[in-house]
Amino acid sequence: MRYVGQPIDRLDGVAKTTGAARFSAEYPYPNLAYAALVHATIARGRITRIDTGTARKTPGVLAVITHGNAPEMKPAPKPNQFDMSTLAAATSVNYLNTDEVYWNGQPVAVVVAETLDVAREAAYLIEVEYAEYPAAVDFAAEEGNARPQKSTMLSEADGRKGDAEAALADAPFALDLRYTTAQVNHNAIEPHSTTAYWDGDHLILHEGSQNVAWVRDHLAIRFDLPKQNVRVISPFVGGAFGGKSFVWPGTVLTALAAKVTGRPVRMMLTREGVFRTVGGRTPSIQRVAIGAQLDGSMTALIHTSVCQVGRTGGWSEQVTSVSRHLYDAANIQVQQNLVGMDLLANTIMRAPGESIGSFALEATVDELAYELGLDPIELRARNEPARNPLDGKAFSHRLLMECFEEGAKEFGWAGRPQEPGSMRDGRWLIGMGVAAAYHPAWRFPANLTVRLSDDGTVLIRCGLHEMGMGSATAVSQIAADALCVPMAAVTVAYGDTALPDTTTAGASSQTASVTASLLAACAKLDRAVFTLARKTPGSPLRGLRRADVTARDGGLYNGSRGESYHDILRRAGRASVEARVGADTRLGEIADQVRSMSKFLLDRRRWVKAACGAQFCEVLVDSDTGETRISRWLGVFDVGRVVNAKTAASQLRGGIVMGIGLALTEETLVDPRNGRIVNASLSEYHVPVHADIPVIDVRYLDDPDPTMPLGVVGIGEVGVTGVAGAVANAVFHATGKRIRDLPITLDKLL
């Protein structure tokens, strides 16, 4: 392979470094109007009065839309696991079609005006009165109301092997610990933005999205349109991390505002608006209990969780999933619980479940190691399973201990004294921590076409999403290798529902999903081109078998005999040859979904697939003030085959940076009295800055997973897993303090 595996620059690099890349709020339209939201200020209740008089009279205001005058929209479809697009509804609220308020921050009015400033000024002038209902908004206080989470086809909410409680009670050594993690928010730097216009009964939307097809399908339902009447365009997405997977109120209401005013309308949410109308990662309460023999072998592992969901929707996190896979405990019990809250629906955020679940599990394992006087890596080695611990399924590929071994060597792990508080540099206490990273590998159906033109160029049309993962670059590399053409000859069209539906850019699944279809399409194309060459009179390849022919240098050859794709197509009088994967009829689509779902389930019965790794962290903790700084980081990962050495490393680093925020600084604070987020800004919600992040050394083993297309395992999320655990463990090693509550802020270390 000439391109796969190489550190190739991003194809959109020039566009992004010159300001030429257009994001969704940047499409110019004549007669463009601007929209702004008014947010509810109570958690639960009913609107009794909205005074829009002053707002309406403000010069430049085109419309003030409230539940009193909004056109009727269809309700959101009920989530149905057989039709994934129904998951697109972030909440079940029919915005501005109801006087009910379900969360503090719910949009209760939209102002449309000639300019952005007028829209915002008028929004500020709207007065709303409410009749308040009692509301459950304090997560800590609602723990007792949690109920067992339901399993879905994608994610099981509980599981057991043996009797873990009994084994725990009998264990010579046992730990039974409680952890809490704060709500956090994605905070992509691009606020959610939509530019929408109606062309008759066609709706066109520019929208930063992780799944353009879901946005299309959802809006078609809400506005009662055939889905081919909706087009969603999203070539650049300014960060997403899960926060742009589903359809949040701003998107629906921009389309509504455009409908009401008959104008193209743009709405870029304010940063506060993002916090108030786009869900974040649920807070959690977790219990991890481990029983062990004195040699460290685990006899019991219990991992349970309580998370929240909004009453109008919310993602059920797979918090305990890591405990199904990481340790070879004789008895295992995992169980997830949910409590319904009168808060904005939470949603998926980079490694939902595993990011926070791995914190609790990996901190407990570390604690066990210290209690037993074992090196934490040695303890893991003694519990490394040969098969999936919970159910005995085979691992498709697992080099976890190899990651630990390489990491320990590179990081200088063995040289550290294990005694907590034993390393110091002036006022700084130094600590080293380690944790496992783990994220399941997924694959979903993806449609695409590959077209070879008579000028030798290749066009891939594929509705994939590019939020910065480098997907289009990776796809070009794979296609160039598959067809043996130069990368410069390959173009990828993406981020548009006018292209074949692909898959969600989530669950670290996009590259693997697209790769499977891409390889299939390239193989089809190759056969079609070869057949053409073989049959075309005068072709040097005439009469040969495929086995006699090699693809190379942008053509097909048998030794020196053969010719370029350009010549093959010209000779045959064809402008282009195209291969496609995926159906173009509704029936075909359903058949595809059923086929892929059964394949998926069959695959899941046979294999446990994942990306994994070892996170090594060194922290400095100020002995007097508790200020914690990350001074060194090393992550060694088993992520199957790496398609692009440069962008893959960036993805892994990005995950680690987000994990450092989760560990140390990030916390969405909800007022326990009224459910209002009190730090809805980037000045009070602290994502890591340049000065917080040292050189992050990232390595990977680059060993293909034999069960995945091209051996590719998703890479986008594994980086964030294990990070908070490694930080907490390093903080313990530095200070002797176990902080079991994220984020690990200053005051907790006193």
């Binding site: 915002r120 000024e121 929004a123 500020y124 304010t270 506060e272 007097d624 003030t625 508790g626 200020e627 700084r629 140390l664 600084t665 604070l669 009190v678 730090n679 800004s681 000045s683 009070e684 602290h686 890591p688 800055v689 340049h690 000065a691 917080d692 802020t745 200053l746 005051d747 006193l750």
Partner: protein
């Protein structure tokens, strides 16, 4: 929203007299936040950028007179040697982009308890030069802060300059935040030693409704320090100084930190800055 753009200081004062509700704007780094976040929509903005008189600083009788339009960046570059405490604090304000535009006068106008320039101004007995068409007056910094985001300016007054005496001894500033940069202080502290009068100045930030000094701590330390012999500060003295500083604060729990943490951290910062300052004084 009206936009007033006087080009001379006299015109600025006249405009403020005529429109006392007008919000003065210089770098914009505080006022614009309020406007953009819909927290306040002033009836009028009084843009002081064109007023040339505000752009410079001058020096007279051991005092610096820093015009209200002098940015943090210029203060750091041009006055860092004479006002080390204020310069250190200025280096931690927001981001470099903010420091290029923001001013000490703007920090005073906003009077946020978390403003970074307040502690060193308190520690060095600065004066705020306020002026209106009625005349000019010097407000001692200790009397300037009246409450959360409230200051002693009359409605028709504008800040002309901040007057700060040349450092006559070591000055240090310390700030604790939740990340390494771009932080609003969880709490902050400044100390200034005044060997010429054997005095100590202090300033506490983000730990009370207003920035404030710790007078008891100042008095205690001034009496304890071995100004002539320059012998090391006994641990007990440093500890007591820290305690008195912490006692002067009245912090609360808020989104950035807890009351208890602030009390603890203030004592630490007081001891630490004293240590740096005394080491410098001893010339070692």
């Amino acid at each position: 929203m009206d936009f007033l753009r006087p080009t001379t200081w006299a015109d600025a004062l006249a405009a403020k007299a005529e429109r006392p509700e007008a919000t003065p704007i210089q770098g914009g780094t505080d006022v614009m936040v309020e406007i953009n976040l819909d927290k306040g929509r002033p009836a009028a903005l009084l843009d002081l950028n064109p007023v040339a008189e505000l752009r410079d600083w001058s020096s007279e009788d051991g005092w610096l007179r820093i015009g209200a339009g002098v940015s943090y960046t210029r203060l750091i570059d041009e006055l860092g040697d004479r006002l080390p405490g204020l310069a250190q604090a200025s280096r931690t304000v927001g981001s470099p982009q903010i420091r290029n535009r923001g001013t000490v006068a703007g920090n005073l106008g906003a009077a946020s308890p978390a403003g970074d320039s307040h502690p060193p101004l308190l520690a060095s007995d600065a004066l705020v030069e306020a002026e209106s068409v009625r005349g000019s007056r010097l407000i001692p910094i200790g009397e300037f802060y009246l409450g959360v985001k409230r200051n002693a300016l009359e409605p028709d007054e504008l800040i002309r300059a901040v007057r700060v005496p040349y450092a006559d001894g070591p000055q240090y500033f310390s700030k604790i935040g939740t990340r390494n940069a771009m932080v609003i202080a969880v709490c902050s502290f400044a100390v200034a030693l005044h060997p010429s009068r054997r005095g100590v100045g202090t300033g506490i930030g983000s730990a009370a409704p207003t920035p404030r000094r710790a007078p008891e701590a100042e008095e205690f330390l001034a009496g304890e320090l071995d100004w002539d012999g320059r012998t090391a500060v006994p641990d007990e003295t440093a500890r007591r100084f820290g305690e008195l500083v912490a006692r002067a604060a009245s912090p609360i729990d808020d989104v950035r930190g807890t009351r208890d943490y602030r009390v603890h951290a203030l004592a630490v910062m007081a001891r630490r800055t004293l240590g740096w300052a005394w080491t410098e004084y001893r010339g070692i």
